[in-house]
């Protein structure tokens, strides 16, 4: 359970977040969408405890202070440890938790399978393609089986099939382990396919613009009329923000 109350953030002169209030229940899957540069990543980092902010963020009812060990995070940008192999990266969190060797090996083996990375366990990040790096980063966050997953555009740079497969896998894991997931994406299709709720953010400074409850059976059919209609509505909301942005010349400072 994640609760945000009037969270705000300004960097220098630039307001990034403004009065963001929302809450994600335990076991819920929420997607965040919003225009480029609106503040989604900043918001996620605030929740993870990687940024300071004004307002209150509660994790399972307790005021968040610093990093919460319950949280797993998939970064938007490249974030692998360049000095560790694929295996070393996947193991990192497990080593921190001082898991026994055997258990680590098992987890890594199954992650290598899941992400079709067999044979690359001893490769260093710079020896991987962009998509493979993304997969390792997701695997690293999943390895420690965190209660809460914050994912910032995790499936970007993956081919359509892998993306579909991983979407389904994520849902399977989520179903099985009742994780709370907060997921940023620009792909509205993906958002509607995955989430219980889709939160649309305004242009910067970001605040909550509109919330959509996606009350469709899983596994969802992307071509069903309900799916298509929610998708359209969300796109319309986003379009509004975009037009507004263009009209105002998107002046940053």
């Amino acid at each position: 359970m994640i609760t945000l109350e009037q969270v705000a953030k300004t960097i220098g002169e630039l307001p990034i977040l403004e009065a963001v209030s929302l809450s994600v229940k335990k076991g819920q899957f929420m997607c965040l969408v919003g225009p480029s540069g609106c503040g989604k990543t900043t918001l996620l980092k605030c929740i993870a405890g990687l940024r300071t902010y004004e307002g209150k963020i509660r994790i399972d009812g307790r005021l968040s202070q610093g990093i919460n060990p319950k949280i797993g995070y998939v970064f938007q940008e490249f974030s692998l440890f360049p000095f560790l192999t694929v295996k070393g990266n996947m193991e990192f969190g497990l080593r921190i938790q001082k898991k026994p060797r055997k258990e680590m090996d098992d987890i890594v083996a199954s992650l290598l399978d899941l992400f079709l990375l067999q044979g690359f366990e001893h490769a260093y990040p710079h020896e991987l393609s962009g998509g493979m790096q993304k997969k390792v980063a997701i695997a690293r966050a999943l390895a420690t089986d965190p209660e809460i997953l914050l994912m910032d555009e995790p499936f970007v740079s993956l081919d359509a099939q892998t993306r579909n497969m991983l979407q389904k896998e994520l849902l399977r894991i989520w179903n099985k382990t009742h994780k709370t997931i907060l997921f940023i994406t620009h792909n509205v299709d993906e958002a509607v396919f995955l989430a219980d709720r889709v939160m649309v953010l305004t242009r910067r400074p970001a605040t909550v613009k509109e919330e959509f409850l996606i009350d469709l059976e899983r596994e969802r059919d992307r071509t069903s009329p309900e799916f298509v209609s929610v998708r359209k509505e969300i796109l319309k909301e986003l379009e509004e923000e975009y037009v507004e942005q263009v009209d105002r010349g998107y002046k940053g400072l």
């Binding site: 980092k45 993870a48 405890g49 990687l50 990093i67 060990p69 949280i71 797993g72 995070y73 970064f75 940008e77 490249f78 974030s79 692998l80 440890f81 360049p82 000095f83 560790l84 192999t85 990192f92 969190g93 080593r95 921190i96 938790q97 260093y124 710079h126 690293r140 966050a141 420690t144």
Partner: protein
């Protein structure tokens, strides 16, 4: 690569020979002359005895500098408060080793320790400095990635900052080692019992006007320093395989 290096050394020796012949001064003996002296010192075992003593002093001072400078540099890079220590460190840093001699003798007497201290003074600052640089230059995203995986401060230091700043730290070690040897003559200027050490060998030869022995001593220091440097590079190659 190897043949290139041999070639470069060869060119260096040839240039030296030519300059020596042209200068025709006893101050600048020819490579052949120096080589003979070097060989005599070597085969008599004298060079070995001098080198062994100096090596022990340099290693002691260097390892001490490593033991103090590396953690201190890392901590100063890590904790903003610790950076305030830099005011003392930056003031002590430029003080010449020779100026420390009276104090070193006062504190540590004439034995091994005062020599190690002088060498420590030389090696300490670059080791600290480059460790600090390495830590400060670590990209924030790496630290954040470690944090969200639950790493504590000390785990982040050990498992992220240290491996990531290894190239910079090793450069510091390399510079520090070079300076450790540089301080050898200063360290071996006084309080010698028995009178052994490459620095001593050089200064005695200099006092007596034996330019060939001075150069033989310089070469001995150069070669040992080079060998230790190579060892550090090998270490780097093994530990930093992950660089693109």
């Amino acid at each position: 690569m190897r043949t290139h290096k041999v070639f470069i050394v060869f060119v260096f020796v040839v240039v030296w020979e030519v300059v020596a012949v042209l200068a025709n001064s006893r101050f600048l003996p020819s490579p052949l002359h120096v080589g003979t002296t070097f060989w005599n010192l070597l085969s008599s075992g004298a060079l070995f005895r001098h080198a062994a003593v100096s090596l022990a002093r340099v290693l002691a001072g260097f390892l001490l500098a490593l033991a103090v400078g590396l953690p201190l540099g890392v901590l100063m890079g890590w904790f903003p408060k610790m950076e305030n220590l830099s005011v003392i460190i930056e003031m002590l840093r430029p003080i010449p080793p020779l100026a420390w001699i009276p104090l070193a003798m006062l504190w540590f007497g004439i034995g091994f320790q005062s020599k190690a201290f002088i060498i420590f003074i030389g090696a300490f600052f670059p080791i600290l400095s480059n460790a600090l640089l390495g830590v400060r230059e670590t990209e924030p995203y790496l630290v954040e990635a470690g944090r969200v995986l639950g790493a504590s401060d000390s785990q982040i230091l050990r498992n992220i900052i240290l491996p990531n700043s290894f190239p910079s730290i090793l450069e510091g070690l390399r510079i520090g080692l070079g300076i450790a040897w540089m301080c050898l003559v200063a360290a071996e200027l006084t309080g010698l019992n028995p009178p052994l050490g490459l620095g001593y060998l050089i200064m005695e030869a200099r006092d007596l006007g034996r330019a060939d022995t001075v150069m033989a001593g310089m070469i001995a220091i150069g070669v040992i320093g080079y060998a230790m440097n190579i060892a550090l590079r090998q270490l780097e190659k093994r530990l930093v395989r992950w660089r693109p």
